[in-house]
Amino acid sequence: MTDMTESRCINMTEKTAEKMTGEISEKKTGKKAEKTAGKMIGNIAGIMIGNIAGKMIGNITRKKQVQEFRKNRLAVLGVLLIAFLAFLALFAPLVSPHDPLEQKLERGLEGPSLEYPFGTDNLGRCIFSRVVYGTQVSLGIGVLVVTATSIAGTLLGILSGYKGGLFDEIVMRGVDIVLAFPNIILALVIAGLLGSGFFNVVLALSLTQWPVYTRLVRAQVLSLKKQAFVEAARALRASNFYIMRRHILPNCMGSVVVLGTLEIAHVIIFAAALSFLGLGIPMPTAEWGSMLKEGIPYLLSAPHLTFFPGLMIMLTVLAFNFAGDGLRDCLDTGTGVMA
């Protein structure tokens, strides 16, 4: 749903861009652009992870914003929850009392006990351990997909917005085409074609999620381009690459980080939904969506099979939504992101 509101906001700004796009593309066309583009991809990617991340944090650490963020109790709660989940994922082997795959068929469907804090599933596996290990899968997918799509989507968005012209046209039509498919449906079909598996899920979700960033970033670039400091830099004959790196990218990062945080929440739900439908992570891997699915037959006799994995999905998604909301409020990026 994020992308839809955005598409609304951005559609409007797109119009603004059209005229400008024309001018710029006339000035800087052809091979030079392509050359720099190649170089830029490498550079910008590096910057994003290092330099810019630092800058972002620098931004946030500005006293006032930190205070703002702290005041937002839900956001703080979100960050604490995320830290806790990351801890579970990293130290899953230490936290979980049992091997998540170990079956004790004769001890199936037991309720919560000291030995099995969340009880056992139909095959006598420890639900607590499975839920803990499930954190690895869900966070892993969320972080991987969001990292990949935010980098690719942002790069495309910046290039598209800054360069304009045919490149912009092609990228934006690509965005339109991908967004013409309801989100989960495209992911579902791609996963169906590729077959189940961790990396197939990551790929399916990445292929469907990148346009969200491209649209957002492109719209921001279009408005940034008109700003005085960019005009000034251009007047000083700074290279395009320099402008993109020093002026455009840092100013987009805020909204990308906000969007990325909220997107992790989305991606985690989507991934769980794919597994729930049987197109995600294959059995017997401990994954929340497939645990839910496995638990359906025991809804009445052993509801703990579905309760705990569902609760974990909800908590994780909630944590990222809290954090993302808080980040947006304190950065006041005006991205129009809402989810």
Binding site: R173, A180, L277, G310, M314
Partner: protein, 313 residues
């Protein structure tokens, strides 16, 4: 404005063309030999190589990719989506047969979400930072974060199993509609509440409201005559654009409640590896979604010319 609409119309053709290209190539790359699959459905298990080759020739599966695409595209233009390779039913017929169930679910969910979200969002914005507002914000965030498959299972557990009040499956009666609608509608309501709230807050900050207040107009009339109207415009258009979300959510909700709609058809055909049917479903959904966004965009342009004009002309 007309300029915009014309451009938007042109764009939709490009997008739909792109959509056909994507669906076709996805299915072209699908695993398995389509000729063999069709032959299997047609002639049964004892297949000879000749039969497969005959099918390949007859179906034009031996021609180059672009020719195959053009042939397929031409069929699509004539609204011929082909036949299911498993049941050999006409795909479009099958889709149209399933469509009413999905439409019913989607409309009911949309309606439910609006009657929850609009009052909640407006109240929340009017009493910003009050207890009520915080509760609304929190609840809607919670609503966004609950996966609808879990919510669906919970509703089944509570209303169908613990206190057997409502059926957990099936289609046709009003009571069948309740649980799927609750599942899909409430999660959508959460999104719309947030939008209504922020849209309302935005409007309340506008000069004309401030001016109206300054003029000492009574709060009710400010609210109803000025604020609400303007705040609801994006909400209602957004509701129209929720179709994509509804169709996506329907895939899951229909699967949980055995609701015989388009979403369930899609999932079933993926597992049956009936790629022709998958292709048909996806194409249909994407076109439906594109056209509805187009309609919403045009409607929006007509209803609120302000937004287009100051930017475009």
């Amino acid at each position: 404005m007309w300029n915009y609409i014309a451009k938007r119309l042109l764009l939709i053709f490009v997008v739909i063309f792109g959509v056909t290209l994507v669906t076709f190539s996805a299915m072209y790359l699908a695993p398995g030999d389509p000729a063999e699959v069709i032959a299997l459905a047609r002639y049964g298990q004892d297949l000879s190589a000749e039969q497969i080759e005959a099918v390949r020739a007859a179906e034009g599966l031996d021609s180059p990719v672009h020719i195959q695409y053009l042939t397929w595209f031409e069929h699509v233009l004539r609204l011929d989506f082909g036949k299911s390779v498993i049941s050999s039913d006409d795909i479009l017929e099958e889709i149209l047969f399933r469509l009413p169930a999905t439409a019913e679910l989607a409309l009911a969910s949309l309606f439910l979400s609006l009657i929850i979200a609009i009052p909640a969002g407006v109240l929340s914005a009017l009493k910003q930072n009050s207890l009520l507002d915080n509760a609304c914000v929190f609840t809607s965030l919670l609503g966004v974060s609950i996966p609808n498959f879990w919510l669906g299972l919970f509703l089944i557990w509570l209303f169908a199993l613990k206190l057997p009040l409502l059926p957990s499956y099936g289609y046709g009666n009003l009571e069948n509609l309740v649980l799927p609608t609750l599942t899909l509608g409430t999660s959508m309501a959460a999104v719309t509440t947030r939008l209504t709230r922020s849209s309302m807050l935005e409007v309340l900050k506008q000069e004309y409201i401030v001016a109206a207040r300054a003029r000492g107009l009574d709060e009710r009339s400010i609210l109803f005559r000025h604020a609400l109207k303007n705040a609801l415009l994006p909400v209602l258009t957004f509701a129209g654009m929720q179709l994509g979300y509804l169709l996506g959510g329907a895939v899951i909700v229909e699967t949980i409640f055995s609701w015989p709609g388009l979403g369930k058809l899609l999932v079933d055909s993926i597992f049956a590896r009936d790629f022709a049917l998958v292709q048909g479903c996806v194409l249909f959904i994407a076109i439906l979604f594109s056209l509805s966004s187009l309609a919403v965009d045009i409607l929006y342009a007509v209803l609120d010319p302000r937004i287009r004009y100051d930017r475009h002309d």
